[in-house]
Symmetry: C2
Subunit: 347 residues, 2 copies
């Protein structure tokens, strides 16, 4: 059936992973963050491609995501789970050999009671105040660290996308201070933004996410996705006629309007409406009127011929430029990509 | 595994369908629009519940959706497809007994060549300039109408959410004019908004969508969804400390912050961040800082005790109030609801 077509370039993801890996020293391991279904692009194909390229350590948000990933990539890789050892996750951790990043004393206590001897990591909060233990909570479990024998100690930067933000250095200092008395366990502080900061942020293991998928702040990333929406019909529209819900767009010249299959139910964020275009190769065709649930109307007046499909994501209109049109960030464009697309993976 | 929990009240959907049905005369059939996976709530359970309640006519956007629905509800119901007889859809129409709403002369010609004698409908454009034939295109296929023998003639209102908008009456007149010389075939013009206008908009068949799912403009709708996000951890935050990406929120009193599992990758639109709350029963706990991909941080300082989960959709914060916080409409809140939720259906 002629669905909208989402093409995911696995080769570009692998190239981005290698490029990010090359930004840290050879002694620094480069993992991969493939939570949220690999930022909407498919955890199984992305996980397999990165494992084949040499990635040995993956990060997901939830134990359920880890279970899916484990079934896709087999037993060899380490799979860390950011949300840690949540109640009800016990069976998933055991059955799928997942490694929790323990966030608080309760998770530590329960993990030791259930699974002492199994691998775990510790997540520390160094100023983002979101996930992980702070100094007092870490002190409360310090006596349990030999029994935990963690394989990783990590934290997360809140402002790494803004290299000049003073919180970066403050979090680096806080991380060093918090971990100064801990045993010689591998450390990790940086996702994509941190990799781009400086070598002192790299520690033993980096965890690129958005950069793998072609998004800011990794400016050198290869674009990963193209998204093409089929044209259902075209029509002439006279001067003064309106298009779409609320009659918000009114033709000021004799126009030709194409209606394409794709809308906000496919993650094409409604707010982008007046600011984005679709593309016929590299010719921009502005969206006119409101984005509807399943349909978008596009001004194709200036095309000599209307093709069977128009692109909304391509090398010209990237996830970041579409995000700008929608008032958000490339991450949200990616994770919103819908279920109704036909997905094709290129090596 | 302890995922966020989305509860869909099928009984409320059925009650809303009956209430909307009661707004038109007994002679008017009431269909149901369950495109976009029943507005994100699950086309199979919603389709089955409405069929059991008496709905005989369903509408979807794409042939692929029709195929899924047919497999869920069996052979009896009529399934109309708004996008019509698109190239590549031929097998789906045949194999799943779907009824296209033909949008243009090309679809008419191809449908007659492939499937003469099978049921079809005609979609007319009466001023929205999105889908359907206008006068000239209708005239070009008028000789084929006896061979088509359509079972429905329909159009769609662009401004039905604004009862006073002059385009409503203009579209009603245009629809009557366009269809005046056509045979005595059932007519349909109104979705939820049109049902609420006046009886002359009801024609032979109405097509409620958003009203079934508890959204504006059907003010009398019963709420259909509740969404509950598990708390991963809570932490004290001192005056002057910041929370979340970009350090955009800074505590002005000694605070307790809860981090819950759920974020924009779950369709909790990033833009809602500063304007929405989570709920502990009916106590509002404001979102603080930016919504992240998998996590939301919430000010729970005023709670005597933090429960294991907090609600982001409930009877107090409906899809429409959450939409207002995110600068969008309830429809987009519903269709964005994510894949990582555990879904429970109540009768």
């Amino acid at each position: 059936m002629p669905a909208a077509l989402l093409t995911v370039n696995l080769g570009a993801i692998v190239a981005n992973w290698r490029a990010l890996d090359a930004l840290s020293a050879k002694t620094v391991e480069t993992g991969a963050v493939i939570k949220a279904d690999a930022y909407g692009l498919g955890v199984a194909p992305v996980g397999r491609a990165l494992q084949k390229a040499g990635a040995k350590t993956f990060f997901v948000a939830l134990a359920a995501e880890g279970a899916t990933l484990r079934q896709a990539i087999g037993p060899a890789a380490r799979i860390f789970v950011f949300s840690g050892y949540m109640r009800g996750d016990e069976a998933a951790y055991r059955d799928f050999n997942l490694t929790p990043l323990l966030n608080n004393a309760d998770q530590v206590t329960r993990f030791l009671a259930d699974r002492q001897g199994a691998a775990c990591g510790l997540q520390l909060d160094t100023g983002m105040n979101r996930l992980g233990m702070e100094a007092a909570e870490l002190a409360s479990i310090i006596a349990q660290i030999p029994a935990l024998n963690p394989v990783l100690i990590m934290s997360h930067l809140a402002c790494a996308d803004e290299p000049e933000h003073p919180q970066n250095a403050a979090q680096l200092t806080a991380f060093k201070d918090l971990t100064a008395t801990l045993p010689d366990i591998p450390r990790s502080l940086s996702a994509t933004g941190g990799i781009l900061l400086r070598a002192d942020y790299h520690m033993n293991l980096t965890r690129p996410g958005i950069g793998l998928y072609g998004g800011d702040p990794f400016i050198g990333a290869q674009p990963v996705v193209t998204l093409s929406l089929p044209v259902i019909q075209t029509r002439p529209v006279s001067v003064g006629e309106s298009v779409g819900y609320g009659a918000t767009w009114i033709a000021t010249r004799p126009s030709v309007i194409a209606t394409v299959a794709g809308g906000y139910a496919d993650g094409l964020i409604r707010a982008m409406g007046p600011n984005a275009s679709l593309y016929a190769r590299d010719v921009a065709c502005p969206i006119v009127g409101r984005v509807s649930m399943d349909l978008i109307t596009v001004d194709v007046t200036d095309l000599a011929r209307v093709q069977a499909a128009l692109d909304i994501l391509n090398a010209t209109q990237t996830v970041d430029s579409l995000a700008q049109a929608a008032g958000t960030i490339g991450y949200e464009i990616l994770t919103s990509l819908g279920n109704r697309y036909e997905r094709v993976y290129k090596d």
